[in-house]
């Protein structure tokens, strides 16, 4: 599959283009946070606490007089870093497990399936909460908790893909020609199974950002003064009547980011859809 053309197809659709631009802006803001944020995220100025949006503080200040815009920009780092890292870990581990289970079958497959089905039956938030209770609050444990929570999804998906592909004649031919398991898995099965997993990963990243925000809201994610959108909303609840912007703006940031990721994911599904391409031709 030609990557460039898939990307071009994606960008040609309005939702693909808009979501790509929004995501691009968010990623750039996160990466360049120390440069573009107007103030430091931890600089308190208690005299200016709970100030409404103004020319000096575009989004107002929080209960410690910290600039909300700067905290949201820095918070993007936390959200994206946690979302992307944990889903990447989850995807890599899930693909390895799922591919092995689907390809080799047998007792190993049954064991993996049982564990995956078991963890699939718990809500992600519950799994994450249990893991954080064991590991202790903090960014690293949040990432681990989210990756474990989403592991089942990728394992199942990869396993199903590999099992479907395994019975294709070209795989049988490859095996008949004497190719080893490693060759079949890495040269033929995984490259063909990866597309849906990537799309699922993209969509799961949005969920992971919400999960991170939820854990942050409970005070279990990044610890102060490190900004995280969920934790900012949590402290905003105490000020909801006198300074509603403290809860509104981080909430908007979460909503916009997750919507952009989901739209991008949808656009990606269409862009990568081989059947649709055939129809168009």
């Amino acid at each position: 599959m030609d990557k460039d053309s898939a990307l071009m197809r994606l960008l040609r659709t309005p939702r693909g283009a808009i979501s790509a631009v929004v995501l691009g802006v968010i990623v750039i803001a996160a990466v360049l946070a120390p440069v573009i944020a107007p103030y430091g995220y931890a600089i308190q100025n208690l005299r200016l606490a709970n100030m409404e949006p103004s020319a000096a503080h575009w989004l107002g200040t929080d209960e410690f007089g910290r600039d909300l815009l700067s905290r949201i920009i820095h918070g993007a780092r936390t959200s994206l870093a946690v979302g992307v890292t944990s889903i990447t870990i989850s995807m890599v581990c899930g693909m390895a497990l799922g591919a092995a289970a689907g390809y080799f079958g047998g007792a190993f497959d049954r064991a993996v399936t049982v564990v995956v089905d078991l963890s699939w039956s718990f809500p992600e938030i519950l799994l994450a909460l249990i893991l954080i209770a064991i590991l202790g609050p903090g960014l690293a444990s949040t990432m681990i908790a989210i990756s474990v929570a989403y592991l089942a999804q990728f394992t199942r998906l990869t396993r199903a893909q590999v099992m479907a592909l395994k019975s294709e004649t070209y795989i049988e031919a490859t095996i008949a020609m004497g190719a080893g398991s490693g060759h079949v898995l890495f040269r033929h099965l995984l490259p063909n199974a990866i597309t849906p997993v990537i799309v699922a990963g993209m969509l799961a990243t949005g969920d992971a950002i919400i999960l991170e925000a939820t854990l942050g809201f409970f005070g279990l994610g990044a610890q102060p003064p490190t900004p995280s959108w969920g934790a900012m909303m949590s402290s905003g609840t105490a000020q909801i009547f006198i300074a509603p912007w403290i809860i509104i703006f981080p909430g908007l940031a979460i909503a916009i980011t997750v919507i952009a990721i989901n739209l991008f994911g949808d656009a990606l599904i269409d862009a990568l859809d081989i059947r649709k391409r055939l129809r168009e031709n």
Binding site: A42, Q44, L46, A213, Q223, P225, M233, A238, A255
Partner: protein
């Protein structure tokens, strides 16, 4: 975000619906967030009790806001001139909720029960209790205790029914609690709620209550809500009738709320930050000194609490004579001194704004508890420490977990805490070498300190002597920087005017049993 808002609104509307079903003469009060999670109503063994304890139990005496003492289960008392005995006359015709009589035998059983408990210090000076007649007891003392009446007025001195106490054993205070107070315990779920029903036979109200008979409220539900803003929303939407403690930063908002009335009483609380003196880097007195002088009490008072309350420069509330220490020893914000002593101790400022010594960064753990005020004070203290080059990592615990962590002794370094007590013996409680870990979070165990403690606790014959001795102990603790004092709040509570009728005056040191019998519910 949608899920949060949904959950929040669902919760509030659910409570509003529940509240509309509440019958007249029933009321729902919310405990202060700091009292959330008190694990039992066993006044003899507990180290934490919530305000509802004084609704279930009466005490021998209770204290008024002017520090005077008034009889409750005791009607009069006198002490021998040498302080070696105290005689109490007991109130006649008082019965426990289980029908057992209250008399001299109750006191003979009760006082020795404190032996071996964390609260033993309050009865330590009593050698034995002698029965003079059915309603008169004499405490024969091992040594004079000028603090006797204060101890007898403590919430931990609620007198339980001997029969219920002995039969429930370790489950006493959780499965049941039986006193002589205005309310009987109906049910108790730790950390959630306590349901109390009126004791219709109540006849032991003190002079601090106008109503001498049973309470006016028939059923009282005491809820525990850890988040102040949630409790505030509950009051606003009519889910509850009274918040027994309201954070000071809510006052501006509450004053604009129609139908809500706020009452302010003088405070008995102090915010402070103990330092674990048994582990690095706080084994070095200079680091402790630097931390103590890095806390800007005035900034916290003015900006977090809108100037309501007072700064704390010592460990005790300023109403106590023992807090009037040598001004040189009072701990008041001095960042220059902080930086100087850190330099002297060899902690050099790095380019990242953190100090380091021999490759080790000056990065410490700063613990705090759930609750808006706690977290806010802690975040400001974190920034203030950073300003002199000390990095602090915040961890938020719930009340039960943090105590378990303190008991491990080596896990904690700094913690933002608050206590509520109006007597200098709190110095012993938090700093005696006998209670390392919890409640001696500072892990302070020093021979000189123990000697001064012993003298203050047991070597004073008169009140004045006791003041001098406690002041000396207090000064020694201040000179060793085992804590950083932060802030002294006032007590605020808020109630719904359409539901609750408060008495004209509220007497006593806190909103407790003596006032609860005077509170009425609008029908």
């Amino acid at each position: 975000m949608k899920t949060f808002l949904k959950a929040a609104f669902l919760g509030t509307s659910l409570c509003a619906v529940m509240a509309s079903g509440v019958l007249a003469q029933n009321a729902t009060f919310v405990l202060g967030s700091r009292e959330v999670g008190a694990p039992s109503y066993n006044p003899i063994k507990a180290t934490r009790l919530n305000a509802a304890n004084t609704f279930i139990y009466d005490r021998m005496v209770i204290q008024d806001a002017d520090q005077s003492f008034h009889g409750q289960l005791a009607t009069s008392w006198e002490s021998a001139p040498d302080g070696m005995s105290w005689t109490f006359k007991l109130r006649p015709n008082v019965r426990f909720h289980d029908g057992e009589p209250f008399n001299a035998q109750t006191i003979v059983w009760w006082v020795p029960k404190f032996k071996g408990t964390e609260n033993a210090f309050m009865t330590d000076a009593i050698d034995k209790v002698e029965v003079i007649d059915d309603l008169t007891v004499k405490f024969v003392m091992k040594n004079p205790d000028p603090n006797m009446l204060f101890n007898m007025a403590s919430t931990f001195m609620g007198i339980p029914s001997p029969k219920a106490f002995d039969s429930l054993g370790d489950r006493y205070g959780i499965a049941g609690a039986v006193g002589t107070g205005p309310f009987k315990l109906e049910s108790f779920t730790v950390g959630q709620q306590t349901v109390l029903t009126r004791n219709d036979a109540y006849n032991s109200a003190s002079a601090l209550s106008v109503n001498k008979g049973p309470a006016k409220i028939k059923q009282l539900t005491i809820r525990e809500i850890p988040e102040d803003s949630t409790a505030f929303l509950e009051l606003r939407t009519g889910g509850v009738d009274m918040l027994m403690s309201v954070p000071t930063d809510f006052l501006p908002r509450l004053s604009t709320e129609r139908g809500t009335k706020v009452v302010t009483l003088p405070g008995t609380e102090v915010y402070y930050m103990p330092m674990n003196t048994s582990i690095e880097p706080f084994t070095d007195i200079k680091v402790r000194e630097a931390v103590a002088f890095a806390v800007n009490q005035k900034e916290i008072l003015e900006n977090l609490f809108g100037g309501v309350g007072a700064i704390a420069n010592t460990f005790l509330i300023s109403g106590l004579a023992e807090s009037k220490v040598d001004p040189k020893l009072a701990i008041a914000y001095d960042p220059a001194r902080s930086r100087r002593v850190l330099d002297e101790a060899g902690w050099v400022m790095g380019s990242d704004g953190l100090r380091a010594k021999g490759g080790t960064k000056l990065q410490v753990k700063l613990w705090t508890q759930n609750g808006t005020e706690f977290k806010r004070v802690t975040e400001v203290v974190q920034a203030q420490l950073k300003a002199v080059g000390i990095g602090a990592d915040i961890t938020v615990f719930d009340a039960a977990t943090i105590t378990a962590q303190y008991r491990k002794r080596t896990e904690h370094q700094l913690a933002v805490r608050v206590y509520s007590w109006a007597n200098a013996d709190i110095l012993d409680w938090f700093h005696s070498g006998k209670r390392l870990g919890h409640p001696n979070h500072a892990m302070w165990n020093d021979p000189k300190s123990e000697e001064l403690n012993e003298k203050a606790m047991k070597g004073s014959r008169t009140w004045d002597e006791r003041v001098v001795n406690f002041r000396a102990y207090h000064e020694h603790l201040l000179a060793n920087f085992v804590f950083a004092p932060i802030y002294q709040p006032v007590q605020n509570f808020a109630y719904s005017e359409s539901r609750i009728v408060m008495p004209a005056s509220i007497r006593g040191t806190r909103l407790q049993g003596q006032t609860i019998v005077d509170i009425d519910v609008r029908k």
